[in-house]
């Protein structure tokens, strides 16, 4: 992420990607819901067909719709009414499976269609079988295994159905039954079941269940009467007692393993329609389409964005670097362009930096020149002294004086060169803290004098500039005050409210004799320099003066209220 452009592209594409992801999730969800509704609609059509006849208490047909619920597709069935697949083989071949909701109270319910009927095991709980009565009538026998607590005696629920007599001739051929069973039992048992067809394995299974009940000694379920022609079991919606007398039929299309397989098989055998596979495929296709679409959108967006950024968006940044190059080459002195608001601060800052850097260079040049220049005088004095035949003591005295003078000049010029000066990029310095540091330092140095320091610094007073410079100003003036005071030094500081930046108002008072007139005049004079100062006393003040000028500030010396000196500095 080295270039600004790639940063912009990256950040915007992350945002875009985020929104696309959210919309993808929403679209996907909608698609899925719509698809599922679609499937439910199709399913319910099938189920309606599948249900065929539903008879109410009075024996009249009524429809029960399966509705999607947490448990799967559920239909409420009135008490003691059972579901029966009338023609599973037909259902296999033509999607025309039928259901009879058979009411237990009525003795005979007529079927309206002349279809063959086979026995059923419903979820291992209920079995139906066709029986032929002595009078030649056919009826359905129902056996219960674990189902319906309110039912005590299965015999009681063996009800007759008035079957049309021609039905027997239309028995489905065994092959299709076998196929159904095979699919039902995972295909493996198909071969096994085939020869056992006539020995009624499914009935035996029901009987086994009934035997179990016998062992438990609870109920005595009725056994299917001998001689009943067995038929293949078919899986049908699970019928579940709700306890309140209602019975619920459930088609599971959930993904739970065993159950799912069974219901899956039902649906497939019944409708030749696999809603899950179809749903998954549709969703997969939709997702691929969505992903491709979104990738195309992102690529197109990035390409366009990159183009616009290059042509227009990042143009000011390039102009800054162009102008900086020109400044380096000396063709320009400042960044001149009219820049957008966001980088205006940056370009202003660069301009200020350039100005202050120039001023600093200027100062370095000047102090170097001044240094060389001002050393000439003491050197000349020494030189001329060496030519004179003065006494040894006078010569020593002279060397001492001139060396001291040179020392002061060097100190002062060095100080001048390192003064940071007004930089707009400086961090604000806490003045109160700096004054406290200075007080504790000077109390140590002037421990003998037992000076009473007083400070009056308004809370939050800051100095925008170099901390070293502030220390220098405070150090020189406060030490000066310590040197000359009798016992008291007062430092006050506050910020003056000025439109741009903070101006520091600093006052240092002492109760000494005050500044001598000649020095006072010199200090007040503009351009006062230490190498022109008469004595060592002036050097500190000259340094302060220099710093104050570097910050475009001002220094005044007046009489303090204790009749000593008061230095008023504005930085």
């Amino acid at each position: 992420m080295r270039s600004l452009q790639s940063r912009l592209l990256f950040s915007t594409s992350i945002v875009l990607g985020f929104f696309l992801l959210i919309s993808a999730i929403i679209l996907d969800h909608n698609f899925r819901t719509n698809k599922i509704h679609d499937i439910v609609a199709r399913l319910s059509i099938h189920i309606k067909e599948l249900m065929g006849l539903v008879l109410d208490k009075s024996g009249k047909p009524c429809e029960r719709k399966f509705q999607l619920s947490d448990e799967g597709y559920v239909a409420e069935i009135p008490p003691r009414i059972f579901a029966v697949v009338v023609n599973p083989d037909a259902a296999l071949q033509s999607d025309e499976g039928r259901v009879i909701i058979w009411q237990s109270e009525s003795t005979k319910v007529k079927l309206d269609s002349p279809v063959p009927f086979t026995s059923k095991v419903i979820d291992g709980q209920v079995s139906f079988s066709i029986e032929t009565a002595p009078n030649g009538e056919k009826f359905v026998s129902v056996s219960y295994a674990t189902f319906l607590e309110q039912v005590n005696d299965c015999e009681k629920y063996r009800k007759e159905l008035d079957m049309p007599s021609k039905e027997s001739g239309e028995r489905p051929d065994p092959a299709s039954k076998v196929r159904l069973a095979g699919e039902d039992n995972n295909g493996k048992t198909a071969e096994k079941d085939k020869p056992a067809l006539d020995s009624m394995p499914q009935i035996a299974e029901v009987i086994d269940l009934n035997k179990n009940r016998d062992k438990n000694g609870n109920e005595t379920p009725g056994k299917p009467k001998p001689g009943i022609k067995p038929s293949r079991p078919a899986i049908w919606p699970k019928i579940k007692s709700l306890g309140d007398g209602n019975v619920r039929a459930i088609i599971k299309i959930s993904e739970s393993l065993d159950r799912q397989r069974r219901s899956y098989n039902i649906l497939r055998t019944a409708f030749h329609f696999d809603p899950r596979a179809s749903l998954n495929k549709d969703i997969r296709d939709f997702r691929v389409l969505l992903a491709i679409g979104f990738i195309v959108v992102i690529i197109a967006y990035l390409a366009l964005l990159a183009l616009f950024l290059r042509l227009w968006g990042l143009k000011p940044m390039r102009r800054v670097s162009d102008e900086l190059e020109k400044i380096k080459a000396g063709e320009l002195t400042q960044l001149a362009g009219d820049y957008p608001q966001e980088i205006h601060g940056l370009t202003e800052g660069i301009n200020r930096l350039i100005i202050s850097e120039r001023a600093r260079q200027e100062r370095f040049r000047n102090s170097l020149g001044d240094l060389a220049h001002s050393l000439k005088t003491p050197l000349a004095v020494l030189f001329s002294e060496s030519e004179n035949h003065t006494s040894r003591e006078a010569w020593q005295q002279s060397v001492r004086e001139q060396v001291e003078r040179m020392r002061q000049i060097i100190n002062y010029q060095l100080e001048r060169a390192v003064t940071a000066g007004k930089t707009t990029l400086a961090e604000p310095v806490d003045v109160g803290q700096t004054v406290d540091r200075m007080v504790s330092t000077l109390s140590k140095v002037y421990a003998d004098k037992a000076i009473r320091f007083e400070t009056n610094v308004a809370a939050g007073t800051v100095f925008v500039g170099d901390q070293g410079d502030l220390l220098e100003v405070l150090g020189n003036l406060m030490e000066n005050a310590c040197k000359w005071c009798r016992s008291r030094v007062l430092v006050s500081a506050r910020n003056l409210a000025v439109e741009r930046g903070h101006v520091l108002d600093l006052t240092i008072d002492d109760d000494g004799p005050g500044v001598p007139e000649d020095l006072l005049e010199q200090v007040q004079k503009r351009g006062f320099r230490a190498d022109e100062a008469v004595s060592g006393q002036g050097i500190g003040l000259a340094v302060v003066n220099e710093i104050v000028h570097a910050y475009n500030g001002s220094m005044q010396i007046v009489r303090s209220e204790w009749n000593g000196a008061r230095f008023v500095i504005r930085l």
């Binding site: 060095l414 390192v418 540091r437 200075m438 901390q467 220390l471 220098e472 405070l474």
Partner: protein, 226 residues
């Protein structure tokens, strides 16, 4: 008084060592920060002069480490740059005074004397206890305004005792502070000096300024008159 001078510039170090020895100090010159730190940690110096720009370990670090170890000796820092920033840092690290190079050696000696005196709790360079007056700046001793003629070593013993007046000063301490480290320490010499000092200060045995605590050391007993 023994003084530790940590200064890497050889000429200056030798000049200072010579000058302080000349002034009656036991002076030890050291060229780098690590050696200086070690010296200050191991030996009971009365004062140290530390240059800020030292090889191996900066002067400020040396001072900070001494102070952390609880060393209370007075310290003067020498700085070449003279910026207040540096002076303040040095003083905050634990130094007591500063000198900006180049400086007058006389000025440095005066500052050293002042700090030693201040460390002994005296605020004036004239230490006065009853009728005995010791002037540290002129290194003269008066009893009842009469100048007493003392040898350099006798003066050093008296100065040390008076700076630590009221405290028990062992012979060991006296040898440590008044002799070079390498000197063969014979405590009998101290007894001889103290005996001579007593005679000179108090020929009539009237003032009894120095008390002998058998097996422990000496104590200057006349209280201060400020």
């Amino acid at each position: 008084m023994n003084i530790l001078i940590i200064e890497d510039e050889e000429t200056l170090r030798e000049r200072l060592t010579a000058k302080f020895t000349n002034q009656g100090f036991v002076a030890k010159g050291v060229a780098d920060g690590e050696e200086g730190l070690y010296q200050g940690m191991e030996y009971p110096y009365d004062i140290a002069i530390v240059d800020i720009g030292l090889p191996k370990l900066s002067g400020i670090e040396v001072i900070r480490k001494w102070r952390e170890a609880g060393k209370a000796l007075p310290i003067i820092i020498l700085t070449a740059r003279g910026r207040w920033q540096e002076k303040v840092e040095g003083l905050e690290a634990g130094a007591d005074d500063y000198m900006v190079k180049p400086f007058e050696t006389e000025e440095l000696i005066a500052r050293v004397r002042a700090l030693i005196r201040r460390a002994g709790g005296w605020s004036d360079s004239r230490l006065k206890c009853g009728s005995i007056l010791l002037d540290m700046s002129s290194q003269k001793v008066f009893v009842d305004d009469r100048e007493i003629d003392l040898t350099a070593f006798e003066y050093k013993v008296l100065e040390y005792l008076m700076l630590h007046d009221g405290e028990v000063v062992t012979k060991m301490t006296l040898t440590e502070h008044l002799y070079d480290q390498d000197y063969d320490r014979d405590s009998n010499v101290i007894e001889v000096f103290v005996g001579r000092l007593r005679k000179k200060l108090d020929p009539d045995n009237r003032l009894k300024p120095i008390e002998t605590l058998r097996g422990r050391g000496y104590r200057f007993v006349i209280s201060r008159t400020e």
